[in-house]
């Protein structure tokens, strides 16, 4: 078994990986940039190594520096988390070349799935249904425009090396084409160091349903059922649940078998996710494979009762899978809400800053995976996701009620967050009935805007608290002045009226 792991990541996922390592008795090494010196993953790991300046291109994406640090501290393996280098075939190859275990698939699997065009070709060959689209990566704006004209609008532009919604643009109108291509390529370059894109026919209002898979180095592949990820904003998931309220047991079984077949087709190893788009009639098409741990993996962990990070580490250590497909079942219902530092009332603008106060939800059936703490300054350089709330209960209805309770309990001040927005989703009839697709946010705008009309009694209470706080500061100031006056012969000028200026 691996004895020491370097975590080439930051934020909540680095903390989450360290937790499982600690439970396995594995020594953990955090890496950090200038901005992350006091970040939770550095505090929580056994060891911590500096890897460079704040921009991720100079630190968390700096492969050679990370490998050098891993060598120096004697780490036998690297866990890449999600994002950053997690789906980088070159990094997986470099780890292999340096005799360091990459906790994830080998370079070939990443390459054939990470490159979305190769992935499509492989899936077509394996008999897996795919969405119509390009078969080659596009590196020039002119070429992209040409291809879009060929397929016909609407289309989706995606980063070839991408995932997680970054570098992704939906184009519906002719006049948006050029700007969309430019933005998608620029974002792709920043996020993945590769500005090539591919283009797919856009299917209106589909469901986004993905299957979790685990594959060992001995040819065994299992799936751990699905996650329904259709609640998206700007093609970024914000709420996920399992089981999906859409698919029937028969379709679930068929999709699970397809997911296992797709995984076997690329000789995969480790934890991965097969993403499907599904229409209202439960027809499903392979969309892409994420060759890494997903943000939303905890809902699967809860319902299937498996620690996915531990499984990844065991697989990377060469162990055969302990779990058999027939032992697995979905027990109860889990929902995850992603908490972002952003302003839902102002076009979801990111809201970095210093955490003034935080109270996290706890109690039965609630898991809260975060990394921020009081006094922590959320850096501007990285993703604005600050935590994930995962709730479970026996029924979907019970889980929604629990999530509402958890979001009510969750208080963060200092930065703006989407917590109230998530609460409104939990109250939304379409969500409660489980009748939603990827157009959910757009179609339910009217239910998702904040309360417009004031509540005079509530205003009065706010005013009184402010007043009490003002009086408290006033009396503290007076006490200080008196204390100073008593203990020394300082002269008091007593400009009390202007004390806060």
């Amino acid at each position: 078994m691996i004895k020491k792991v370097l975590i080439a990541n930051r934020g909540e996922i680095a903390v989450r990986v360290i937790r499982s390592c600690r439970e396995m008795g594995i020594i953990t090494v955090a890496v950090y940039s200038d901005a992350d010196e006091a970040s939770m993953h550095v505090r929580y790991a056994d060891e911590a190594c500096y890897i460079g300046p704040s921009p991720s291109t100079e630190s968390y994406l700096n492969m050679d520096k990370i490998l050098e640090v891993a060598k120096n501290c004697g780490a036998e393996a690297i866990h890449p988390g999600y994002g950053f280098l997690s789906e980088n075939a070159t990094f997986s190859q470099k780890c292999r070349d340096h005799n360091i275990i990459f906790i994830g698939p080998g370079p070939d699997a990443i390459r054939s799935m990470g490159d979305k065009i190769t992935a499509r070709k492989t899936m077509i060959a394996a008999g897996v249904p795919v969405v119509p689209g390009t078969t080659e990566p596009i590196r020039e704006d002119v070429k992209a425009i040409e291809v879009i004209r060929e397929i016909g609008l609407p289309v989706m532009i995606k980063a070839s090396s991408g995932g997680g919604g970054k570098g992704m643009r939906l184009v519906k109108k002719e006049e948006e084409v050029e700007s969309a291509i430019r933005m998608a390529r620029s974002e792709a370059a920043t996020a993945f160091g590769d500005d090539s894109v591919y283009i797919e026919k856009y299917i209106e209002s589909p469901h986004h349903i993905e299957f979790q898979v685990l594959a060992d180095n001995h040819g065994n592949v299992i799936h751990l059922f699905e996650r329904e990820c259709s609640v998206q904003r700007r093609h970024q998931k914000i709420i996920e649940e399992t089981p999906s309220p859409l698919i029937t047991p028969d379709v679930r079984e068929a999709m699970g078998k397809t997911a296992v077949a797709a995984t076997k087709a690329v000789n995969y190893s480790g934890a991965g996710t097969i993403e499907f788009i599904v229409d209202e009639d439960q027809n499903y098409f392979f969309l892409e494979m994420n060759t890494r741990l997903q943000v939303e993996h905890p809902i699967t962990e809860r319902v299937v009762g498996v620690d996915l990070v531990k499984e990844m580490i065991r697989i990377a250590s060469g162990e055969p899978l302990r779990l058999q497909q027939e032992d697995l079942c979905q027990d109860g219902h889990a929902i995850e809400c992603r908490i972002y530092a952003e302003d839902p009332d102002n076009n979801f603008m990111p809201s970095p800053g210093k955490i003034a106060h935080i109270t996290e939800p706890k109690g039965l059936g609630v898991r809260c995976d975060g990394y921020i703490y009081e006094g922590y300054e959320i850096p501007i350089h990285y993703d604005p996701m600050i935590s994930k709330v995962v709730c479970w209960s026996r029924t979907r209805e019970g889980t929604i009620a629990r999530m509402k309770r958890a979001l009510y309990e969750y208080k963060i001040t200092g930065v703006k967050t989407n917590i109230r927005f998530l609460e409104r989703i939990m109250d939304c009839m379409a969500f409660k009935e489980g009748k939603y697709n990827t157009q959910f946010i757009e179609q339910n705008q009217e239910y998702l805007v904040g309360p417009q009309q004031g509540d005079p009694a509530n205003e009065d209470r706010a005013i009184m608290v402010i007043f009490a706080d003002y009086l408290r500061k006033l009396s503290q100031f007076e006490t200080k002045v008196i204390a100073k006056n008593d203990s020394a012969d300082w002269k008091i000028t007593g400009r009390k009226k202007n004390l806060f200026t």
Binding site: M183, E459, D460, R461
Partner: protein
């Protein structure tokens, strides 16, 4: 007893302290009288006990001890203590320049691209600057035909929130 005005979003309320002992307060808000316990339980976190109900209210000072951002359960507000001095400051700032003549990002970020030069005449809807923060890129455009007067930043610069990036006319 102490009396002053507090602004809460668009509302301006008169507040008067009638009586206080420890965390027990009798307060007049406009014409309504309240008898309440107001307890600071954590830094900036208040518990208010009023008519048998329990309310959690969080105050965040916004740089200035007289300015607050307030979270109640459903609503958030911006508030300010208005005393004589604040009134004077407000009257002085009333005829300050038009904010539309400055293009700024509401949050800290990095300037990714500047699409104009000083002296350029640009059309309504044209993009002036692209700023990236927390992995998201935002385009800043003009609403009317404009002249680029001054560019205060260059590509690659890290900027603060509300910092003037480009001055237009």
């Amino acid at each position: 007893m102490t009396s002053l005005e507090i602004s809460l979003d668009d509302r301006l309320a008169k507040v008067k302290l009638l009586e206080s002992e420890g965390n027990h307060f009798r307060i007049l808000v406009d014409d309504k009288e309240y008898d309440s316990r107001i307890i600071m339980v954590e830094q900036g976190v208040y518990l208010m006990l009023l008519d048998g109900k329990s309310y959690n209210i969080e105050l965040i000072e916004e740089g200035d001890p007289k300015k607050y951002f307030i979270n109640t359960n459903r609503y958030s507000y911006n508030a300010e203590i208005i005393d004589a001095e604040a009134k004077y400051q407000k009257s002085r700032h009333a005829d300050h320049g038009d904010d539309d003549s400055i293009i700024s990002s509401p949050m800290p970020g990095k300037v990714v691209k500047i699409l104009v030069s000083e002296g350029d005449r640009i059309k309504a809807g044209d993009t002036v600057v692209v700023v990236s923060a927390m992995k998201m890129e935002s385009e800043y455009k003009v609403k009317k035909d404009r002249l680029i007067k001054e560019i205060r930043v260059k590509e690659g610069d890290t900027v603060e929130g509300h910092e003037p990036l480009v001055i237009i006319e």
